[in-house]
């Protein structure tokens, strides 16, 4: 067990280093920070001095190590536009995004786990077909189109939900106000995730239902409900953990577009405006952060696997 976790962490370390290299390479590819300073009033000599001051005259790999050293001390560089530190900018936008992602993940699981299990238990019934068809629809609707439909329905026609922001302007906000603003973004994110989750949990559950220990459980005569909810569901934890692990990168990606549509003041909105103004230190900071979070998410998923299913071993 301990050996498995240790091995898994050792594999993650070169990947983490590789992620920083890719991140740095993209940032270099995007252009030198000096280009932003160039203008008619900036002399060649001033540029040269700035270049030496920023260490840009040194070979690329030395620049990389200098950057890495700064990174380890928590310095992710400074925004070209606002001159704020990238870590402070990320810190101030992280909360709303985590709130949105967390609630969406929860809602999608609350939808997908019962639906997937129902569908597997009643395989080939009308209900099963309906669930599978709806799940295909959920994963096939582009998030931004579903957002437009929802805004059209709830904001324009019914006038019950606000279409943008996190709190109503001019009011103090409060949990109820934030919740009202969250309904539509959460619906969109949860729908796209629940679509693939339902099918994954259904097929995993179908496999579990064919296992010998379930036949034994049924033969004991303890009743259908007990068999499914005590024996099968416990074993379905493994696919559910997998689903959560798979969702993390999707959540980050989905949040970028959804935050843009609903003007949700989180990391995604910040990233999109940084992309618009080509503020590469901010963009790459977000990239690095999300890549590290995804990597850690996978690591935790694998470790939880081993905890949930003792038969899993690293080959």
């Amino acid at each position: 067990m301990g050996k498995y976790i240790l091995k898994r962490i050792l594999i993650a370390i070169p990947v983490l280093i590789g992620i920083t290299i890719i991140d740095y390479a993209i940032m270099c590819l995007a252009g030198s920070p000096l280009e932003m300073l160039q203008g008619p009033r900036v002399s060649e000599a001033a540029l040269e001095a700035k270049k030496i001051a920023m260490g840009l005259d040194k070979p690329v790999y030395i620049q990389y190590f200098v950057w890495l050293g700064q990174l380890l001390r928590g310095n992710m560089g400074y925004s070209i536009k606002s001159y704020q530190s990238v870590s402070a900018m990320i810190g101030s936008h992280l909360g709303p995004t985590l709130l949105l992602m967390g609630v969406s993940l929860l809602v999608s699981l609350l939808l997908a786990v019962p639906a997937g299990i129902y569908s597997a238990v009643h395989q080939y019934s009308k209900g099963d077909y309906a669930v599978v068809t709806v799940s295909f629809l959920g994963s096939s609707i582009p998030g931004f189109f579903l957002s437009l439909l929802l805004i059209y329905l709830f904001t324009v026609k019914l006038k019950v939900l606000p279409s943008s922001g996190m709190v109503t302007l001019g009011t103090g906000g409060g949990a109820g106000d934030i919740a009202r603003h969250m309904v539509m973004p959460v619906m969109v994110l949860a729908a796209s995730m629940a679509g693939s989750n339902i099918r994954y949990i259904r097929s995993a559950m179908l496999e579990i239902l064919q296992q010998d220990y379930l036949r034994t459980a049924r033969a004991k005569g303890i009743g259908r409900f007990q068999v499914i909810y005590k024996h099968a569901l416990r074993n379905a934890l493994v696919p559910i953990v997998t689903v959560i692990g798979m969702q993390i990168p999707l959540l980050f990606g989905g949040a970028i577009i959804i935050e843009q549509v609903f003007s949700w003041p989180g990391l995604g909105l910040m990233t999109m405006s940084a992309i618009g103004s080509r503020d590469y230190p901010v963009i790459m900071g977000v990239c690095l952060l999300s890549a590290v979070v995804v990597l850690l998410g996978n690591l935790v998923t694998d470790i939880v696997y081993a905890l949930v299913d003792p038969t899993i071993q690293l080959q």
């Binding site: 590789g18 992620i19 998030g143 990168p249 999707l250 843009q260 990239c287 999300s290």
Partner: protein, 303 residues
Amino acid sequence: MGKGIVFMKNRNKEKKKKEMVTESYLQTVFRRFKRHHLAAFSLVVLALVCGAALLAPVIAPYEPEAIVGPFGGAPCREFLLGTDQIGRDVLSRLLHATRISLLVGIMATVISTVIGVVLGLLAGYFGGVIDMVIMRFTDMVMSFPYILLVLVAASIFQPGLWNIILILGFVDWPGVARLVRGNVLSLRETNFVKGNIVAGMPLRHILFSEILPNTVAPILVYATSVLALSMLDEAALSFLGMGVQPPMPSLGNMLNGAQSLTVLTRQPWLWLPPGLLIVLLVVAINFVGDALRDALDPNSEKR
């Protein structure tokens, strides 16, 4: 001499096998595919939409970029789906947009599948250091949220049709690589591959003529989901203004206008048709992929 005899025996065996099984592999696949009514229906829908997209220059009533009618006119007999804000025919643009979006989806899928297959074959077959390097690199690329990577790439390179295709193609291969590697790992242990190695067959032959044909089915199924995802991503990118650039129409950038409240509330004919068409196409592709998975699976009859 000895080799020749073995060869003859193999020939005979093949003949016998063909006599025994009256149905060819493709026929079996087709018969199983037809059992999925929704998928069969989806295939018809896809064929119709693709046909319309291919014939767009012939059947579109107007030029897609020509200004032919009133600004933001509602659907009428002359303009079946109305006209957009600057007086272009929405139906003509929709037909051409479908063509562009399908082109992006298909090309991006082909590129990412080829990259993924080659890397997966190499990693799975050689193992050891090559496998480790390729798979760790795959892990790294997979760690970056896909759409973020695409957005960053789109902001570095000029957005445009071919750049979008290349970006989507070069970002979407890790899944295919993992799938192929897993299949190759199990195929490498089979007797027919071992036999080829012992017989001293060239590597090229073993990889491409023995191993690859046996992984085509799962690759094909996976490619359908990549196709669906690439089309969704193209739409999202173009919607955000970082994909296919106007005046060239794509299903995503036709929806771009709906970000303004007037279009959203007063001119639904501008954003509903392209949005519904994306959903229709992606749902149909997913259904076909799902039925294909079932039809190509050699074990599906036993269940």
